[in-house]
Subunit: 485 residues, 2 copies
């Protein structure tokens, strides 16, 4: 049995059967929408909708109570009015259904009455040995088990980002965002009020999850600081953790408290804690996922010396500036590299770092010839590439050359694939990270071809540099953590 | 004659006729591509291609020299090899063509020889009273004169952003980016080596430009600090200036020098200067345009107290946190506002700021009822709205209700238009800024309807807050500037 199978969260992410409270034949009730998500992602286990009156719910045979369900229940999902929840939990305990997701809200996040009811849930869970997620959460997504209990369809592919979030929105509403990057979640947890399972438990799970290469945390407040520290320090040695903490300001702290009832701490304290246990901080949701793109799929750099490759002056200068602001240094090329570059580029180009091609008659040079000269240089730890392929110009050129629309399109496609393959091969070949930055829309063919091959393409030079800086910080932290054990 | 018509740049942005050096019947040469841009945007004045051999260039009658051109020449565009440029300038001076764009590179940005040649251009210009942009620039875009001399097609609509840039890329490569926001340039200048016309001249022009509501600057180094300070201080009183400065780090400074030969100064010095003359700083290209979206079209807030409206907990908390990090405070609602909100929202909702609707049976409440309660509160200076319209859910609901695809679509469209109209009317009605933040793609129907009506919709809550913070800083700066005169 692997570590992840031993986790008490394993049956929450890998249930063989589901009991579902709160779905009905009113397709618009929250419970029905959530059951529709389960069906929508093609969950393959048994599903038992439980409804006091109906015999069929959304095309599935329904049961009036848990007692009538014919088989064992690995996971119960509860989307019922607040007051009904304690009784359901009691029933589950008695029936031996020991894993639940409690979606219902109105507990600890509301008032003293709610807090009391939440404590009652905890007591019941303890009595029966129940593990439940929530209350006031939207559950889990496990793309490798076709499981989505949330009320939003999951639209991205299975990916390598493991997410644990103190907001359901950042689980539900981000799959469309990730899809634009050809990325997706491995597993994602919405932890809600964390009555029994908290973000630290999920972090530990994701640390063991074989499908997860990088962990994203949305944090309003960490309830068990010491335990988080211990777990994060262990997990950081295996894979990167990126955290977006929003409870550090007085406004964030107050808003967090009314959201999930959690008490946040000062930004400086969290900052120091994250640093000491190897967690990389992000300052926004966009940055959280930018960092995941790069930290999840690029080799660790040996140092902070970045090479900048551009054919546009301004983006090169702003990338250089952003590099320094992100804690990186511009690499200094060895004389051999400079000599080789000079042979290839036009006289208007710059062969010191940033390498600014300015203009080239051979479109292959940019992503094929130049990186092959730069990457082997021992003074280079990582490469940034600015991307703007004038697709329109390329088409024009190929039409001029071929006078044949179909042929021109095939040639353009072949060219883009060749470029993407060349760039995608670099990190593996040289053991150094490569990050591209581009303002082009994600729908642009070159971006699509690159993403398909696992290249890191971030939506601007500044954001790309920031992510490369984060990767470099992580490499340094990880080295320190490994040395200290 | 208006101030802008008196500017020596006026004939560069509003030429009645163009002489064009460097275009040929090779459609792929740089000059030809630039002439194609001029034709592409539908420039209506006379165009005289000048070519030593051809009698026709790209379908236009060509002339072997400037002397043969039959009419007066308002503007010359020169895309020729470096060495030929001085002689052309001389010819222009003699022929009375006193405005030029010199695209050719290889001057002051390269070496001592280049510097000498550039000085020669300046001397010639002074002798004849010539005003030229460049060298080493890509010229101008004036969308209100159908003029685009750059080598990229301009794909956005005419807009209210005036741009002056020390990188041509941020003029050429950004129109596709702006188009996603339904925005565009009024006029945009690529200043290149700034031999005669510099970024300060362009700033002054844009200050007088009636189509320009906000000015974006991309700055690697300001050559005439005192003059910039004087002009910026004047312009800031009329309209906001946003500057992205990349020469402040040692890496940025070095890269800038090899890009346009300009010497940059320390970040702290620029920061202080910008602050004193009312210029708002952006830290990236994305932020530059985020700020333009908001500063160009929203009324100035009277103070720093922002109301946050959300129906998703996490985005509300992160917006609150971002508000404080952006220099804003969360507004405290008056008792009347709280009472009115409580009447409308469900019991799970929060009626203190952030207002978190959590869930609503009436989809109109969110953008119609709630803002109408919040906006009149005297403790509220500005409003942030988080946007996530479950378009899919809306369709589902309307299909359930109507059982008629066409009807459902019409109703959905009507609903989205109603929502967009409601939000768009708020700033005018209450004299307070409203900024929305959303992770939704720009193609989402609600975003499209909002953008069409001039609403400020920024791609994330954090970026929206940052832009609202910038608007608030600008309001404060402008007040101080006005008080000091």
């Amino acid at each position: 049995m692997s570590d992840v199978e031993k986790s008490r969260l394993y049956r929450i992410t890998h249930p063989r059967s589901l009991a579902f409270w709160g779905a009905s034949n009113n397709a618009l009730s929250m419970g029905s929408v959530q059951l529709a998500s389960v069906l929508g992602l093609g969950y393959e286990g048994a599903i038992y909708p439980i409804h006091p009156k109906e015999t069929e719910v959304m095309g599935l045979k329904a049961y009036n109570s848990l007692a009538e369900v014919p088989g064992p229940v690995d996971l119960g999902v509860v989307v019922l009015p607040t007051k009904l929840v304690p009784e359901i939990l009691e029933q589950c305990g008695k029936a031996g259904a020991h894993h639940l997701i409690i979606v219902s809200a109105g507990f600890g996040e509301i008032d003293e009455d709610g807090k009391r009811m939440q404590q009652q849930l905890i007591d019941t869970a303890n009595r029966y040995g129940i593990t439940f997620l929530g209350p006031n959460c939207i559950g889990v997504v496990n793309t490798y088990h076709n499981l989505n209990t949330t009320f939003y369809p999951y639209v991205a592919k299975p990916g390598f980002i493991g997410m644990a979030s103190q907001s359901g929105s950042f689980v539900t509403q981000m799959s469309g965002y990730l899809d634009k990057f050809d990325l997706g979640f491995s597993q994602a947890f919405s932890v809600g009020n964390e009555a029994v399972v908290d973000i630290t438990d999920c972090l530990e799970y994701l640390g063991d999850s074989p499908e997860t290469k990088v962990i994203a945390l949305y944090v309003e407040a960490i309830r068990r600081g010491r335990e988080f520290f211990r777990v994060a320090k262990q997990v950081s040695k295996k894979k990167p953790i990126v955290a977006y903490y929003v409870g550090g300001s007085s406004a964030g702290k107050k808003a967090a408290q009314s959201h999930t009832g959690a008490l946040a701490g000062s930004d400086a304290i969290y900052d120091a804690m994250f640093r000491q246990c190897g967690v990389i901080r992000a300052q926004s949701i966009e940055e959280l996922f930018d960092f995941c793109i790069v930290l999840g799929a690029q080799p660790l750099p040996r140092g902070d010396r970045v090479a900048v490759l551009t054919h546009s002056g301004g983006p090169g200068v702003s990338a250089a500036d952003a590099a320094e602001r992100s804690g990186l240094r511009l690499a200094q090329f060895g004389p051999e590299t400079v000599a080789k570059l000079r042979e290839v580029v036009p006289h208007t180009a710059s062969v010191t770092n940033p390498v600014d091609l300015t203009f080239s008659r051979n479109l292959n040079e940019y992503l094929q010839t130049l990186p092959a000269i730069i990457m082997p240089d021992e003074g280079v730890d990582s490469l940034f590439v600015y991307l703007i392929v004038a697709a329109q110009r390329l088409q024009q050129l190929l039409m001029e050359a071929t006078k044949d629309q179909e042929k021109a399109e095939a040639l353009a496609k072949g060219f883009l694939v060749g470029q993407a393959e060349a760039l995608a091969a670099l990190p593996g070949k040289y053991g150094k990270p490569v990050v591209a930055g581009s303002f082009l829309p994600r729908s642009e063919p070159l971006i699509q071809e690159l993403q398909k091959r696992g290249c890191a393409v971030v939506p601007s030079p500044e954001r790309a540099m920031s992510a490369l800086g984060a990767l470099t910080r992580y490499a340094r932290m990880r080295e320190a953590l490994e040395a200290s054990t």
